[in-house]
Amino acid sequence: MRAFPTLVLRELGMQFNSLTGYVVIAGVLLLTGFSLVDLVERIRQMPHEAPVTELFYQTAYFWLVVLLVSPVITMRSFAGEKSGGTYEALMTTPVGDWEVVLAKFAGAWLFFVLTWLPVAGVLLVMRQVTGEAALFEPRVVAVTFGGIGLVGSLFMSLGCFASALTRSEIVAAMVSFLFGIGLWMLGYRPDSSGLLPGWAAPALEHISMTRHMEDFSRGLVVGRHVVFYLTATWLFLFLTQRVVESRRWK
């Protein structure tokens, strides 16, 4: 794993050396800004008992950002290198398949987390303006960011997998968007239709990302949520490694 830090830095560098990285950051900031306005409006209309983080993550903005931005961050990780030919140059150096997969995932995940850091700034500004320290408990904020990190790891691993499947960045982005939105929709109000068999609703409830995020944004660390994200991330990374390795089966 000697080349791992070098590869991670390269992945981050690739985001910052191109316009895409800045477009992603700008997009997140724009949507975060909208959600802030929305949040202030809500707080004004009703007395706030819930922490601000909870209100924030219950708005559609958060999911809009995650669903739209993740495919853009990960689409180039494998597909871009394949279409540019640098994949061949990479895979003929003495680095292992797992090293490459983990580095690409780690680079994408770090960038994802970086794009969310300005949100911490937004929360701080709110605290300054309202002067309500109770609304911004450090523990709640920390758990919320932990939740963002976990959601991010699932979406980044899924994006890496989609990117490893193809040579086209556009196809990679579309596949990871479809997977992402599919997974998210499955758990979005799973019991609302009343058409599902009895066992399905609790199962879907278990993978409901909106429910998970509700808990995280209240400052609750729920073990099975954490396990869900870690296993799902591992699953997609495992699949990615198999795709990368598959060139040696052909």
Binding site: S18, G85, E88, P94, R247
Partner: protein, 320 residues
């Protein structure tokens, strides 16, 4: 300790893609210090063979060993020993030259200090010192090619594999890349692919001619020269009457056949084949001087690569 042992041993290598066979039962051995050219038209299986040597693609059957290590079972051992420049020389265009070479040296297992030393060395060796802080995407194709070469050399590999190193370059750039490759031959074993005949002649000590996935011929470059020279045939353009030329050359000792074809003005093209490989050029010049004829061109007849392919494949068909 490996001195004297071949660096590449390929036995019965076959690579099939769905619907076609790219490399068909190929065997060859390349010794240390050789500069070997894979010559063949597009689709002959050159790139596929090189990709298998570089342990990027697995073979369908057969064994390939580089420095005694199997490319499929010990890919890391193989990769440490080779510097591979893929076809079209892919580079990270957003990086700066030095930054890119440092990045590649880390991937190839060099430590920080050693990496820095080696990057400085290859920058110098490939004439890149002046552009080391430029962004690769803003460099000319010739410079990019040098960056690719520098990358292939940065970890001091035993074997350098270059897939079409001069493709898409202008004549000036081709010349500078060729001289770099020639220099490499002094310190490394070099395997390169090309579809340009003169490239092999200028840079390689040995040539493997590939056609439709098979090796048609494996020659030392001098022997290739023999094949090319059409048995020492000489072509001259002389200003003289055709009949006089015929008379002058037909009965000279050493001349096997004579052919005279009219050209523009009073010039004639005289084509002479020698008996047992005699060089007829001095004879032709002496004859022209003695008779006061104007001689405007005197060359040895050469086959083109296409002629060689036709010649070799015809031979194959007859054998079969």
């Amino acid at each position: 300790m490996d001195q004297g042992k071949p660096i590449i041993e390929v036995e019965n290598l076959t690579k099939r893609y769905p619907g076609r066979t790219a490399v068909d039962d190929v065997s060859f051995v390349i010794g240390r210090g050789e500069v070997v050219g894979f010559l063949g038209p597009n689709g002959a299986g050159k790139s596929t063979t090189l990709r298998i040597l570089a342990s990027y693609l697995p073979a369908t059957s057969g064994t390939v060993r580089v420095a005694g290590h199997d490319v499929f079972h010990e890919p890391d051992e193989v990769r440490r020993r080779i510097g591979y420049m893929p076809e079209n020389n892919p580079l990270h265009l957003d990086m700066r030259v030095r930054e890119y070479l440092k990045f590649r040296s880390r991937l190839k297992g060099l430590g920080w200090r050693r990496g820095r030393e080696r990057v400085d060395t290859v920058l110098e060796q490939c004439g890149l010192t002046g552009v080391s802080s430029r962004i690769i995407g803003q460099l000319s194709k010739g410079y990019r090619q040098r960056v690719g070469l520098a990358d292939a050399l940065v970890h001091e590999p035993d074997l350098v594999i270059l897939d079409e190193p001069t493709i898409g370059l202008d004549p000036h750039q081709i010349r500078s890349v060729r001289s770099l490759v020639k220099d490499l031959g002094k310190r490394h074993t070099v395997v390169l692919s090309t579809h340009i005949l003169s490239e092999v002649e200028m840079t390689c000590s040995r040539v493997l001619i590939l056609h439709r996935g098979r090796i048609l011929a494996a020659d030392r470059t001098e022997d290739l020269e023999q094949r090319l020279s059409l048995g020492g045939q000489v072509v001259a353009e002389i200003e003289a009457p055709a009949a006089a030329l015929m008379d002058a050359f037909r009965d000279l000792p050493g001349v096997e056949t004579t052919d005279v074809q009219p050209l523009d003005g009073a010039y004639q093209r005289v084509t002479l084949s020698p008996k047992n490989g005699v060089d007829l050029r001095p004879v032709v010049f002496g004859e022209a001087r003695a008779r006061g004829w104007t001689l405007r061109e005197l060359t040895r007849g050469r086959r083109s690569l296409e002629d060689i392919f036709v010649h070799l494949t015809r031979g194959k068909v007859k054998e079969e």
